[in-house]
Symmetry: C2
Subunit: 333 residues, 2 copies
């Protein structure tokens, strides 16, 4: 069933059918109705490929995420999809993992699909976990399509970034821990991403300002997994009185470890997580965590995406969103 069939059955030309399809105002009501009726009867839907071939927009946005089974990424994708769908856009989703070559390959594949724009979710695309790798591949991709980074910050033409103020929050939280008498603060992170680096920098700055020498054994790079965190602590038994983790699962691991060994939380140990995920509510006591305002970040990103696509007006390249701290049972205040 194509435009010719519809044209024939309606007794008009394909040009007229096309006009009806695209809601052109230069069609008489009568003709329009007639054609629409036939289209409905035949359950006709225009072929996107033919459309894409002549037209410009594909009404599709590519979204790349390292791991969709990660709760944070999944929430981001859900929010993005909702906004795109509202505007009748489709989402091509790809999961790249964290390895540099994979990331590049997935970006290449997405670009081949003639998407209108591309969104990269997660700060792993900004800095990199494998230090040798830089952001050149992103800048190259941006030459083909507008690129949107969620929680990344790459300053280049056609790249639009939205990120949270992780440095400031991290600095502030660590300071508060220190004010509360903590001085052996365990820093747990699972990556060397742009955002992880900012969190670490804030943590270190707070120590420095307080004149506390950083203890290397308290800065740990582990996997963001509850049980692996517990195992890590049991093997290395670091001596700490507070913990600041860059993701909730690690923080939950610390809490579990503490409960197992009879350490009182938050009396003798303060724990702070990040991302304010459902995990933070699963534990008793509940976990204090940083809400990085993902919804606002995603909304901002999609809004700017459509601004760029519509091409009217200046669109700022960098936007920062303020995190908030959700106080719960694993810290005093």
């Amino acid at each position: 069933m194509n435009i010719y069939d519809i044209a024939e059955k309606s007794g008009v030309s394909i040009a007229t059918v096309s006009r009806v399809l695209n809601d052109s105002d230069k069609v008489s009501e009568k003709t329009k109705e007639k054609v629409m009726k036939v289209m409905a009867e035949e359950d006709y839907t225009p072929n996107v490929f033919a459309r894409g071939l002549s037209g410009e927009s594909t009404h599709t946005v590519g979204v790349l995420v390292p791991d969709i089974s990660d709760n944070y990424m999944a929430r981001a994708v859900a929010l993005i999809e909702r906004r795109l769908h509202e505007k009748d856009y489709n989402m091509l989703l790809s999961c790249s993992g964290f390895r540099a070559e994979e990331k590049e390959e997935h970006i290449r594949m997405l670009l081949e699909e003639r998407i209108d724009a591309m969104i990269l979710v997660g700060s792993t695309y900004a800095g990199s976990d494998t230090k040798s790798h830089n952001t050149g591949y992103i800048e190259k991709a941006a030459q083909k399509k507008p690129l949107f980074l969620i929680n990344g910050d790459v300053d280049a033409e056609n790249i639009f970034c939205t990120f949270s103020n992780d440095y400031a929050v991290s600095l502030d939280l660590t300071k508060k821990l220190i004010e509360n008498g903590r001085n052996r603060i365990l820093f747990l992170t699972d990556s060397e991403s742009y955002s992880a680096k900012k969190k670490k920098a804030g943590y270190e700055k707070a120590l420095e300002e307080a004149g506390i020498a950083p203890i290397p054994s308290l800065i740990c790079h582990i996997r963001n997994n509850i049980d692996e965190t517990v195992s890590y602590l049991e093997e290395n038994h670091p001596d700490f009185d507070a913990c600041f983790a860059t993701d909730d699962a690690m923080a939950v691991g610390v809490l579990k470890y503490a409960m197992k060994h009879g350490v009182s939380v938050p009396k003798d140990l303060s724990i702070i997580g990040y991302n304010n995920s459902e995990l933070a509510l699963a534990t008793t006591p509940e976990l204090t965590s940083v809400d990085n305002k993902l919804e606002k970040i995603c909304d901002d990103t999609v809004i700017r995406l459509f601004s760029v696509l519509s091409g009217n007006g200046f669109v700022p390249r960098r936007t920062s969103v303020a995190c908030t701290v959700v106080q719960r049972g694993t810290t005093n205040h």
Copy 2:
């Protein structure tokens, strides 16, 4: 940059370029190399729309999920995406929510995109939460493209289903609870989906076999959310000595409620969750939960999808996968 440009720069015809593109064996090594070199230099990528227009396959599969921020669905999507990507297929992801009209609209939109096949994730698409709604819309969609249901069971042409044996597991678990002396077993569910119904049926059958009259106030339909479960229990204070929940978040809510009120788990209260999510590991004690073998279900689905697309051989329409129970700290054995 199109096939004509490449042809010209390589000094061959577009047909030859096309052959190189499609890895045809009827091209001399020499020509092939020459053309490939030009393509690489020009950073040429074929236009998918032109391809889709002539060819049959679009190398794209539509995946529909009610809510990607749900951990279970997100894991499924991750697994599916990985398998599709391995075969160089793209994934068009859409999130429909749970309302009937929305589901239908999303299916319609996906179908318009000329996908090769469609995967519906979650048993919400099989039965329905809004009872009046049936599976007719799915059968209709299946007339256009092969449809794959993950955790659904609709018996119709061109619909392929993979589901877990929820009834048997539920029956068995409830029986064990009864054997352990429990007789006021709280059943918590968040939907009327196909899979939820099977779980409930197993629960009821076990009670019946043991000659225990079901207590209406112990069969509760609530939202799958930790805090809402706690609130529900505090408002309704049901009298129960065991709980079987159709998803982990509700089970965690029960555990949290128990801890808050000083109920000893598992001594005075047994709790069983479902889906074996990360939440099950976050609590102390850890949550006993049913592992529904999502990975196997997804793998099976994608394997059969490619069998159907390749068109060779008979492909079974229904496949059942056996769940396992992961014993942890909220049950005795």
